[in-house]
Symmetry: C2
Subunit: 224 residues, 2 copies
Amino acid sequence: MAEEDVPGGEARPALSTERVLREALRLADEEGLGAVSMRRLGRELGAGAMSLYHYFASKEELLDAMIDVVFEEIELPPEETGWQSAIRRRAVSARQVLARHPWANSLMESRTTPGSANLRHHEAVTACLRRAGFSVLMATHANWLLDSYVYGFALQEASLPFDTVDEFADMAEDVYLPQLPPDQFPYLNESAAALIAAGYDPAEEFIFGLDLILAALEPLRASA
Amino acid sequence: MAEEDVPGGEARPALSTERVLREALRLADEEGLGAVSMRRLGRELGAGAMSLYHYFASKEELLDAMIDVVFEEIELPPEETGWQSAIRRRAVSARQVLARHPWANSLMESRTTPGSANLRHHEAVTACLRRAGFSVLMATHANWLLDSYVYGFALQEASLPFDTVDEFADMAEDVYLPQLPPDQFPYLNESAAALIAAGYDPAEEFIFGLDLILAALEPLRASA
DNA sequence: CACGTACACCGTACGACGTACGCCGTACTA
DNA sequence: TAGTACGGCGTACGTCGTACGGTGTACGTG
């Protein structure tokens, strides 16, 4: 039943791979991955659940497509700058994107075949490193190291129950500290108290490790 | 209906928190997290699904308990060695454990409240770092960095579709290389070919990044 | 001994889920 | 006008977590 242009009708736009994908992303972002069910997705699009199977052979395939869209949002390393700032930009962008789509973290584990956007990124990063003088092996090491850090950071960040510094300060004082009695966790207690007092902001944490890694990689270039 | 000691009976041992938990871990390890359903778990224990709710208030609670068992398996940093080798041992152990229980990666994201084993680890690592001369802030940085690397590495490792070097060599040549045409992915193609030729083993990858991070942290100790 | 209570366990039912299967209008081609 | 392809959907099956209300056994108390 095609959607005819009935003058008084609701004129729901026709389904399409694009539209299904966009709606799935919106749902995941706003209500979490759990809200993305075929029935719900269909309802949201004014269609039946089974209609979606004309555009994606299975839910798995839909999830793969969603992941690849996320990777497309990540900035490629710019070519005109030095290798460190290029890689830094990409890493910072990746973290931002993964923080915006926390559900993507949990999906990455189960996807075995990398999507095309993922491949493009690996190619661009490898190109950047190789041109900077890293050997094939060293570039591979750097890739693993950088990606591990970015994904791991995003994973930890996603499990934090707060979004802003103020929320963190509140939670830390009211929830975390009481869970850390000084006799049982002297060091954690000390750390928590000191960090709260100093106005610690976990959002700035990412750049520390990233720059440490970049600096440590620098002397490993052949042309350094 | 308690399990009486009927001589000819099947004499199924009584349920217990411990037994339920063990069985859930076995199922997750052997058949993946998807196999862990209350019905299946009950059947596996010779009981009904609802019986499990006497030991865990919900499936969420069971999953939390499973995660904490995984963290218990991780070696604490030994106290008698230098900070680097102590932290290295813990990191290597963590990676091994997470590789043994790949399902744990995907769970960590959604758990907001850390389990007791998790807390014990953070305390021990922080203690090790503080005693080595790191400031509170620096120890926090190091904690984030190290954990990000370990979790991120485990996450990437879990999505690799092979387990041994030989499997990798086979897959790389038959599956990966064909996906990387030289005109589209010149650098990735070069890397893949070179790594295969050199007998690259991804299992050794972990220690490279770990030692790089440890070495880069060394000069940040106050008493260095 | 009888009786009440607590505990461990379970059967059934409800509303979700992914998706196999087959049907039905519409639109276009011959 | 008949045939065919396509987009879309209704129904049904087997799964899931779990709320609710049982039922039997064990044990403390009279």
